[in-house]
């Protein structure tokens, strides 16, 4: 007979869930419902007058060409950051997983950037690439003859925020990929090696499929990261500029709400953003997860 622990308490599972539910309600459902409510209001900055305007804020936002521009900016930015940080982290993890001298030192150093706050990361990169003071900016200008100017050149500014955001996220991805790699049984890989499979082939036919649950989890996390957490980096480095070259959806939510005191419009944007991220995550679970082998 199968051995099983049976809990007769009906209430216990719910009690155990309570702490987590409290956290989710306080930090997610409550603010989200506030945003939803706010998105139907037209209100001044101080909250002295407010008027219920139904969908006017949404209408306003969706008719604004700048909003659609920030969709394009966000798409470029998220694909680049998520793609680059996943690919580079995987590369580093595979390398650090091998038998090399000082592997532990590399592993530790790789994790460090994760402890840096986004705004601090932004300032660090800005110092290096600031057109008139940055050391790397001078090298780019003098050695490569490129007129590096993220203050005016939108492409340069975009490259800058992509680099900083990717750098910041590699650590996290690296950690998970490394853990994933170390949980793959050595015997499977050794058997393949004995059968004469090359390193590349071993990677794509054995290691990568076995890593797919980790990769899928990271994809979901990274998409959320680029949509929300990169805000600090963009704010400190470019402030959404030049022109609107680095104004992503989440940055626009902040800028319209805080700088512009347009709380209704900002809330409408965050509701739209919420819907997009929920939809993206649902798509990932429905279609990408099919290719995942647990």
């Amino acid at each position: 007979m199968e051995k099983r622990a049976i809990y007769s308490h009906k209430l216990l599972p719910y009690l155990l869930l309570v702490p987590q539910m409290v956290v989710v309600i306080v930090f997610f459902y409550f603010p989200a419902s506030q945003a939803l409510y706010q998105s139907f209001l037209l209100e001044d900055a101080f909250g002295l007058h407010s008027e219920f305007v139904w969908f006017e804020n949404f209408e306003h936002v969706l008719k604004d060409p700048d909003y659609w521009l920030s969709f394009v900016v966000t798409a470029i930015f998220s694909v680049a950051v998520a793609g680059l940080s996943l690919a580079l982290a995987l590369l580093f993890a595979v390398m650090a997983d091998g038998q090399i001298r000082g592997a532990n030192a590399y592993k530790t150093l790789m994790i460090w950037p994760y402890a840096v706050a986004p705004a601090v990361a932004g300032v660090l990169w800005l110092f290096m690439f600031q057109p008139s003071l940055g050391i790397l900016a001078q090298i780019i200008r003098d050695r490569f003859g490129v007129d590096w100017n993220p203050l005016l050149n939108g492409t340069h500014a975009m490259l800058l925020v992509i680099m900083a955001s990717t750098w910041k996220q590699i650590s996290y991805n690296f950690l998970f990929f490394l853990a994933g790699l170390q949980s793959i049984p050595r015997s499977v890989i050794e058997a393949a090696a004995i059968d004469g499979a090359s390193a590349t082939r071993r990677f794509w036919t054995i290691i990568f499929p076995l890593l797919s649950p980790t990769a899928f989890f990271l994809l979901v996390v990274n998409v959320t990261y680029v949509f929300f957490d990169t805000f600090g980096i963009i704010d400190t480095m470019t402030g959404g500029g030049p022109s609107q070259a680095t104004s992503t959806l989440v940055y626009k939510v902040y800028n319209d709400g805080r700088a512009g005191s347009n709380l209704g419009g900002s809330a409408a944007q965050s509701v739209i953003l919420m819907i997009i991220v929920v939809a993206l995550t649902a798509i990932q679970f429905k279609y990408v997860e099919r290719k995942v082998h647990y």
């Binding site: 002295l48 003071l133 402030g239 959404g240 609107q244 512009g260």
Partner: protein, 442 residues
């Protein structure tokens, strides 16, 4: 029994603490949120300490809350959470927003009247006080650090380029000419530049050329105002600058004052920014520098007119206790003291806010021994202000400035023509003005 005794002794202890507190009379704390850094932050701390040392009833506690927009937003958020400071420093750009929020603020003339402090609005320089007063002359906020935009130049660089260091360029064509010569003399990455892109190139430029920034006296006469910053003269300046941006004779330095370091480091020999930059230049520039008035186009009728003020004023937030307001009023009287204002002006490069302070500094011969320090005052008060140069009062100006910056950047990057960029700046700004009008006039 034991528990009862414990309870009694605890009660006695509490009573003791309470009576001790009553005897010591802890001073009433007045929270002051501000946005000043570096040398100017030291001034804020010194003013608070001096005030606290001068009496024992009140204690002013200054806290730095980030940049100007950050400080203003922190104040607004705190108000919504019923946690606002007593005194909030708000930059001139936020003036209309604060005025529109009559329920959130307590006008300074009310604070002074209710506390019985001696207060004469006519003691303040009209060019400064007018900016923060209603059309009836009621002062709503206390002018604190008022500056205006001026031109800074590097005398050593002028000598290097064989230019007379005592003859700074007066007009835009002269500035362009000087910048080209300076560029040829080795200032390859920047001949002339400026901080606060929109403040210098649109707002100050308009007032200095007696052109409206917006209708209704730049919004001073009503919220139903429309932008006018796409006039042919505005387009002309932007076209000239865009042409010079190509080889960096002019080089754009960003939306805020982050680029000011380009002057003190010696990279940009001509730089336009706030007169409040003085403390910083004095401390950091390793060269001989000069100050001069903003350039103008000599063929524009009425130019130069007068420049408008920038900087910030102190707003008193609503919903506080009467004795706290008394402390605020005492502090404002302390700030307006003639000697203190004269010291502030000499130390920081900000304008004196009272007439008496200005006269005192002048009588001391300060401007003779410190040439150039009177530039901001002369520039501000040289001519009686017109509707175009009295001030600027636009709602959502923080956001509108961002829109303007975005359009200026598009023009400098060459992705839009100067005319298209300014037309877009007007159209987008007007939309934001209409939104603001709807939220305040109900």
């Amino acid at each position: 029994m034991f528990s009862r005794r414990l309870l009694l002794s605890a009660a006695a202890g509490i009573a003791l603490i309470a009576s001790a507190g009553a005897q010591a009379q802890a001073p009433i704390e007045i929270q002051w949120w501000h946005a000043l850094t570096g040398a100017n932050n030291d001034v804020v701390v010194k003013l608070s300490n001096d005030f606290n040392a001068s009496q024992s009833q009140y204690k002013v506690v200054p806290s730095y809350k980030g940049s100007y927009p950050d400080t203003m937003n922190a104040g607004i958020a705190a108000f919504r959470a019923n946690n606002a400071p007593h005194i909030l420093q708000v930059f001139e750009v936020g003036t209309a927003t604060m005025m529109g929020a009559r329920g959130a603020i307590k006008p300074v003339f009310d604070v002074m009247k209710e506390s019985g402090e001696k207060f004469d609005p006519n003691a303040y320089l009209p060019a400064v006080a007018g900016y923060y007063s209603t059309s009836k002359g009621e002062m709503l906020s206390m002018p604190f650090n008022s500056s205006t935009a001026i031109m800074w130049y590097n005398k050593d660089a002028f000598k290097k380029a064989n230019l007379d260091p005592n003859k700074p360029p007066k007009t835009w064509p002269e500035v362009f000419d000087y910048a080209k010569k300076l560029k040829a003399a080795g200032y390859a990455t920047c001949g002339v530049s400026n901080a606060w892109g929109t403040w210098l190139l649109l707002e100050q430029f308009s007032a200095w050329h007696n052109l409206p920034i917006a209708t209704k006296a730049n919004g001073m006469d009503g919220f139903d105002t429309e932008l006018r910053i796409n006039s042919p003269t505005h387009v002309r300046l932007l076209t000239d600058l865009v042409a010079l941006q190509k080889d960096k004779t002019y080089d754009y330095s960003g939306r805020t004052n982050n680029g000011e370091g380009r002057f003190t480091s010696g990279e940009c020999p001509i730089f336009m920014t706030s007169s409040g930059f003085f403390g910083n230049v004095k401390a950091n520039a390793k060269f001989d520098f000069g100050m001069s008035t903003l350039p103008y186009y000599p063929d524009v009728a009425g130019a130069p007119q007068n420049s408008i003020i920038g900087g910030a004023s102190l707003w008193v937030m609503g919903g506080k206790k009467a004795d706290e307001y008394k402390g605020v009023a005492k502090f404002f009287t302390f700030l307006s003291d003639t000697d203190r204002q004269a010291w502030l002006h000499k130390e920081s490069g900000y304008l004196p806010i009272t007439k008496a302070a200005y006269e005192k500094v002048k009588a001391e011969g300060f401007y003779q021994t410190n040439p150039g320090r009177d530039v901001p005052v002369i520039q501000m008060a040289g001519k009686p202000p017109t509707d175009n140069s009295r001030g600027l009062r636009l709602g959502s100006l923080v956001q509108i400035r961002d829109m303007w910056s975005e359009e200026l950047e598009a023009a400098f990057a060459g992705t839009k023509s100067p005319k298209d960029a300014l037309d877009a700046a007007v159209a987008r700004g007007n939309a934001a003005l209409r939104q603001f009008e709807r939220t305040v006039t109900r």
